[in-house]
Amino acid sequence: MKALTLQPTEYTPQIILDPINYRFVFAGESYPENTFEFYEPILEWFRDFLSQKKDMIVEMELTYLNSSSLKSFYDIFKFLNAHAKEFNSRIIIQWIYDEENEIALETGQNMDEDFEHLTFEYLQKE
């Protein structure tokens, strides 16, 4: 399966979905104009990649998610959660946040509560 990588822009995050090096990263700010259009291929990529049991760590270093990006990530996590439940996969969400960004931490904690089959790890940036 091919990797999906996107360079960051001022309003979209860096995205690395690399099945060869086994790295899955979202980093930066997310407030595209057409959020659902932007994230649909990401969700599709996960649907293809996770057609069988796979353990994975997803690094989430998002400094800002606008409201529609929040919804898009909720939908991605919903899919990951369903996969983890169905295949008994261990999926870790590394939620990387800045000490001064209480909203980012709270956002992760809210997601955590809704997805019992995902393991959230909170890492404060150095």
């Binding site: 104009e33 057409n34 606008n66 909720y74 909203i103 809210n110 809704d114």
Partner: protein, 179 residues
């Protein structure tokens, strides 16, 4: 010349940043980035600056998506006319973040209902509200997640303020968050 009057109004109103004109995604990025840079020169609380920046982005997206004066510039990309102002507020030693755009008068009731609903929520209700909205299936014809006002209110120290007014036969909507 109205210059003196304009400068006096800006000073007396404690306006730190103002933009009035066309808004589209690239302009939104430029306006929000410029506002953040200006604020970082005056404000040492980085968390406060981030909250203002993030609320401004959410408000400006609302202007682009919901202004009566919006038009499609290319497939799925819109341009609208709107204004945003950041003022120094006496409340909580904070800042007022205001955005203004024209609206269809028929939408006034719905906007009011949405903001009043969010303003009335207590802490535990807020959490439930967020979860309910996130669980809803996004309709393909909507551009947002129905969470824009909520995300602004999360960053505001006080309930969101809003106003509707008429200017030269157009109906306007103004929203303010105190951060």
């Amino acid at each position: 010349m109205h210059t003196q009057k304009i400068i006096k109004t800006i000073d007396e109103s404690k306006i730190l940043f103002i933009y009035n004109g066309l808004l589209y995604q690239e302009m939104l990025v430029a306006v929000a980035s410029k506002a953040k840079k200006e604020l970082l020169l005056r404000e040492t609380n980085a968390q406060k600056v981030n909250k203002i920046y993030e609320s401004l982005i959410e408000m400006l997206h609302n202007v682009i998506s919901y202004s009566k004066q919006k038009h499609e510039i290319s497939s799925g990309k819109f341009e609208s006319k709107g204004s945003c102002i950041i003022v120094k507020s006496d409340l909580n030693d904070g800042y007022g973040v205001v955005c203004v755009n024209t609206i269809e008068p028929a939408n006034e009731g719905e906007i009011k209902r949405r903001i009043d609903t969010i303003n009335a929520l207590n802490t535990s209700q807020r959490k439930e509200f967020l979860k309910e909205q996130l669980k809803k299936i996004a309709s393909p014809d909507t551009r947002g997640a129905g969470l824009g006002f909520f995300e602004i209110s999360r960053r505001s120290h006080f309930p969101l303020r809003y106003d509707f007014f008429t200017l030269e036969k157009e109906r306007y909507f103004a929203i303010e968050a105190i951060i």
